[in-house]
């Protein structure tokens, strides 16, 4: 379906509908919070019963997600040693390669055995689909890195990471999407990087994005789209098929895993309907993880865990942060939205609508590492993280636009429209409300207990039930702590053991951190959208300790 994926340039009923749908998530979140508050005062008995039902639901969902977190981590660990380059070469001759693999003795090593088993299944699915991929030699990578205020020390590690990765950099076209309004220092840094790396890649372009192009907002998507259009011309001149180009849009601080492009190429090749797919790595925030305050560390480990869980449900997975997709699909959807902040998820929804629901995200079990937002001191770090999470939560701007498309679309099945629409709304509302309900509202019925309620069994038993349920949730906490210890990069410097022990205790802050740096920013974003106070793109500050 051709659809104007924007809240701008709409008229009449569409505009009214858009506005109503903009109000809906914030309205629901506030209704839930205020409703429970009022219920706790007016009918504390009912509120206590509702809280029991809710906390049980929450803990079961938490445990359910923990199971998939562990499974996803295991998958990531299993695929760590995979020889992606060898597999790519194998997929080039898929029929004979599949037969060779089937005859190989089963490895004794647990990880190798499962990795091989999964690989064999993927090959079989590809052969069954009949949708054979282009030869790996014909596949090109386009990496777009939007830059506005990131200096050389932020950008260069990512470029170096692409160059020194296992995949041949001669197949990678790097495009630095440089904002014209960037400072002279940033512009000079970009040119210096180009001079240093130009010959190490298929090509290295610096595309300057002019300011104030009509119809564009000052958002990252506008810059990336402008660069992608330049890249399109570049491919047209060289007669490179869009279908054979995989585009990755990376944040300036993104450092891909050495396996990233080989793993991505493999997944692109092995996926039957490869053009109509996005490829989502697991984002980790390891670049500066030991140099930031504990609250910053915990909240972003939580983000990585969330994406690990999401990776186990590709049918409902939406792209997030640095990810990749077919350049053909990017051209088909007319590039990233140029007037939205949340370009990472918006591009998924644009493609989903454009291909009438035949669009999915394929999780790829490799990592891209980014910076945790920081500041010059704890206070500044806190404020910057709050702003970043609010910007992420501003992804709620997609909800009214997607819902309007769902209401109009006849190509997307009713089931898909219902499930995706519900998931989108539920995700935002639960993001803003759950933590508040659990930490603040759950004890209110007892606080506002009337004489009648205070003499009921519920008054005394409900807190005990809640305490028992919360203690069950501590199993989830133990899993998170264990996985974070296993996933985090080694600590540099002295007192490593002490730092790790301290990190274990940092997790005890999670209820407060989630409330202050996740739920409240989400509620803030939804409330802004509800009142039509649209946000501007705010570029996060990134600081790294020198040396």
């Amino acid at each position: 379906m051709n659809y104007n994926y924007s809240r701008h340039n709409i008229q009449g009923k569409d505009k009214a509908l858009e506005r109503a749908l903009e109000i809906l998530p914030g309205f629901l979140s506030w209704i839930i919070i205020i409703g429970m508050l009022v219920l706790s005062i007016v009918e504390p008995l009912v509120a206590a019963v509702v809280m029991i039902a809710f906390i049980l639901y929450w803990v079961l969902r938490l445990l359910y997600m923990n199971i998939f977190l562990v499974l996803s981590y295991l998958r990531l660990d299993i695929e760590k040693e995979a020889n992606w380059i060898g597999r790519i070469a194998g997929v080039d001759r898929v029929q004979s390669y599949n037969q060779e693999l089937c005859q190989l003795p089963c490895p004794k090593d647990f990880k190798a055995k499962w990795s091989l088993r999964l690989h064999c299944k993927e090959l079989s699915d590809l052969i069954k689909s009949g949708s054979l991929p282009p030869k790996s030699d014909d596949i090109y990578h386009l990496v777009i890195i939007p830059v506005i205020k990131e200096t050389r020390d932020i950008i260069e590690p990512g470029i170096e990471g692409i160059k020194s990765g296992k995949y041949p950099s001669s197949k990678v076209l790097v495009v630095i999407a440089l904002e014209d309004r960037a400072s002279t220092e940033v512009q000079n840094d970009v040119l210096a990087i180009k001079d240093l790396y130009a010959k190490k890649f298929f090509d290295f372009l610096v595309v300057r994005h002019p300011s104030n192009i009509p119809g564009e907002a000052r958002v990252k998507g506008a810059n990336a789209s402008y660069a992608a259009r330049s890249a399109k011309e570049y491919f047209d001149q060289r007669k490179i098929l869009y279908e054979n180009v995989i585009v990755s849009c990376f944040d300036a601080d993104t450092v891909p895993n050495p396996d990233y492009f080989s793993c991505l190429t493999y997944h692109f090749m092995i996926t039957p309907n490869r053009v109509q797919r996005s490829y989502q790595p697991i984002p980790v925030y390891h670049n500066n993880i030991w140099n930031v305050p504990s609250f910053a560390r915990i909240i972003d480990i939580g983000t990585s865990f969330f994406e690990l869980v999401e990776a186990t449900n590709p049918k409902k997975m939406v792209t997030f942060s640095s990810h990749s997709m077919s350049f053909k699909a990017l051209v088909d959807v007319d590039f990233w939205p140029v007037d939205m902040i949340s370009d990472d998820s918006a591009i998924f929804w644009k493609a989903f609508i454009r291909y009438d629901g035949d669009y999915q995200t394929v999780p790829i079990y490799t990592t891209v590492s980014m910076d945790i937002v920081a500041g010059r001191n704890r206070g500044e770090t806190f404020v910057n993280i709050y702003k970043q999470k609010r910007r992420w939560a501003w992804g709620v701007e997609n909800f009214p636009i997607v819902l309007r498309a769902f209401l109009k679309s006849s190509g997307i099945s009713f089931y898909q429209r219902l499930t995706y629409g519900f998931k989108l709304l539920e995700a935002f509302v639960s993001w803003a409300t759950w933590s508040l309900l659990l930490s603040l509202v759950s004890w209110l019925p007892g606080f506002f207990a009337s004489r009648e309620f205070a003499t009921s069994t519920v008054y005394y038993i409900a807190p005990r039930i809640q305490a028992t349920i919360f203690s069950l949730a501590s199993f989830g906490l133990i899993i998170c702590v264990s996985l974070s210890i296993m996933m985090l990069p080694p600590i540099t410097g002295e007192h490593n053991i002490l730092k790790k022990i301290r990190h274990v205790f940092e997790w005890l802050l999670i209820p407060v951190i989630v409330l202050v740096l996740s739920a409240i920013p989400a509620l803030d974003a939804q409330t802004r959208l509800m009142f039509g106070r649209y946000m501007d793109f705010w570029v996060t500050d990134k600081y790294r300790k020198k040396g």
């Binding site: 639901y57 079961l60 049918k315 205070a454 069994t457």
Partner: protein
């Protein structure tokens, strides 16, 4: 992964659908009793004690948990509960457990086998005057003002009310005017032909002492003030109020006339006119505003008696205390006591009024209206917590309002308020004849003059 996801989803969904209603039923007291082969609704008993950690006995069986604890799953009926703690008397209560209900015994104060009596000051005191909601009380060794002193229980020191070089040192004291939470005292006394009113401001160091006799009409007056307006004293003379200014040493005669009742807060002066309308005005200017009309306080309720002391509790709630001990509130059921009220204290923390007559101790709960009242008109809930008194003269709330210490015929008692059973009354001490006592919430100790030695003693009632 998709199959695993689906299987786990249905397992978790089934778990929720089964566990959620079961937990909710459990919270309402429903348990499965195999003998009855079905769900039965039960009740529970909640017990917490001071000190905590007491052994709990349900009938004759020792319950595995110590206080504070909840014993749930009890089939409706009567249960004998015993708490035992080394060094304390056993606490025994028969508790009626009802379906879906909780019989709660919060902060059961375990009574030591021997009350720990501490001698504070070994002097022969003749009088103890409690100062409500203040940091101390007044004690005296004779009838002369020079022997009067304030004992500060926080600082644990005794400060003379007037210094030895004061001209009022030998003044015989007839009575002392004081207000709740105030550091001002006005002493009335003197010889038959030369009575004086002495103003003592204890907030100043050294204390400010003024002779304000010339400001007060010779007719006996009732004096009252708000601690926020230390220099503004109101004097009631039968049917009018004078306003005394101790800074200016001036008086505004007949400041308010036609007065049947009176009271004051930091901001307002409250009066009741002869038509039973309650009015209020700022100290200056005197522009009366209607506060409550006489529809609430009609003749049947108040009668011809006067004066009524107006006590402002919080916001719009007021009490009227009549000369015969009538007690009236501006909320249903209006008439709290027809006569005989000896004293009262409002405990803001739990929105509860404690008042007492010679025979009974009563509580009035302002926190919610009784069920049989109209939902439009809020009311108060009144209960008698003790009615076997002979000559109750003073009461204090103890321990978050769960206990009351009272003096009946020169004996001090500790009363435990039991919402689900008869009250527990424990003897504390014998006090000097006609002297009062003081209880300090902050320290949990009661202070009194010993009946034999007349020394100032204290008993730590609530362990801190």
């Amino acid at each position: 992964m998709a199959i695993i996801r689906r299987i786990l989803f249905f397992i978790f969904l089934a778990t929720y659908l089964i566990a959620c209603p079961l937990l909710i039923l459990y919270s309402f007291g429903y348990i499965f009793i195999p003998i009855k082969q079905g769900l039965t609704q039960t009740g529970l008993i909640y017990l917490s004690s001071t000190p905590k950690g007491a052994d709990v006995y349900l009938e004759k069986s020792h319950y595995r948990q110590k206080t504070p604890t909840t014993i749930n799953g009890l089939i409706p009926g009567n249960y004998k509960i015993t708490l035992k703690q080394k060094g304390y008397q056993p606490w025994v209560q028969t508790v009626l457990v009802d379906v879906g209900k909780a019989a709660a015994f919060k902060n059961i104060l375990l009574v030591p086998k021997m009350w720990p009596v501490e001698n504070i000051i070994s002097k022969d005191f003749v009088k103890l005057v409690p100062l409500r909601q203040a940091n101390g009380f007044i004690v005296a060794t004779s009838a002369h003002l020079g022997s009067y002193a304030v004992y500060d229980f926080k600082k644990k020191d005794l400060t003379p009310l007037v210094p030895s070089d004061s001209s009022f040192f030998t003044l015989p004291v007839d009575s002392i005017f004081s207000e709740e939470n105030s550091s001002i005292f006005i002493i009335y006394g003197g010889s038959l032909w030369g009575h004086k009113y002495v103003y003592v401001n204890f907030a100043k160091t050294p204390q400010e002492i003024l002779d304000i006799s010339k400001l007060i009409d010779e007719k006996s007056a009732d004096l009252f003030w708000s601690d926020s307006n230390r220099s503004k004293i109101l004097a009631f003379h039968g049917d009018y109020l004078d306003l005394l200014d101790t800074e200016e040493m001036s008086v505004s005669p007949r400041y308010v006339e036609n007065v049947k009742g009176y009271g004051a807060t930091a901001k307002w002066v409250y009066t009741m006119d002869m038509e039973n309308n309650v009015l209020r005005h700022l100290y200056h200017p005197v522009e009366k505003q209607p506060f409550l009309d006489n529809a609430q306080f009609d003749e049947d309720l108040l009668g011809e008696s006067r004066p009524y002391k107006i006590k402002v509790l919080d916001g719009d709630n007021i009490l009227l205390l009549g000369p015969k001990g009538q007690l009236v509130v501006n909320l249903p059921p209006y008439n709290l006591a027809k006569d005989g009220v000896v004293g009262l204290e409002f405990y803001k923390k739990i929105f509860t009024l404690l008042y007492w007559t010679k025979q009974s101790i009563n509580l009035v709960d302002f926190s919610e209206q009784p069920e049989n009242q109209s939902p439009v008109k809020k009311g108060v809930h009144q209960s008698i917590v003790y009615e076997n008194g002979k000559n109750i003269t003073d009461c204090f709330f103890v321990d978050e309002g769960m206990h009351i210490i009272f003096k009946d015929n020169d004996r001090l008692y500790l009363l435990e308020i039991e919402p689900a059973g008869p009250p527990h009354v424990e003897f504390l001490a014998e006090v000097k004849k006609d002297s009062s006592f003081f209880y300090a919430q902050e320290t949990g100790a009661v202070y009194y003059l010993d009946s034999q030695t007349r020394h100032l003693n204290s008993i730590q009632v609530v362990p801190k």
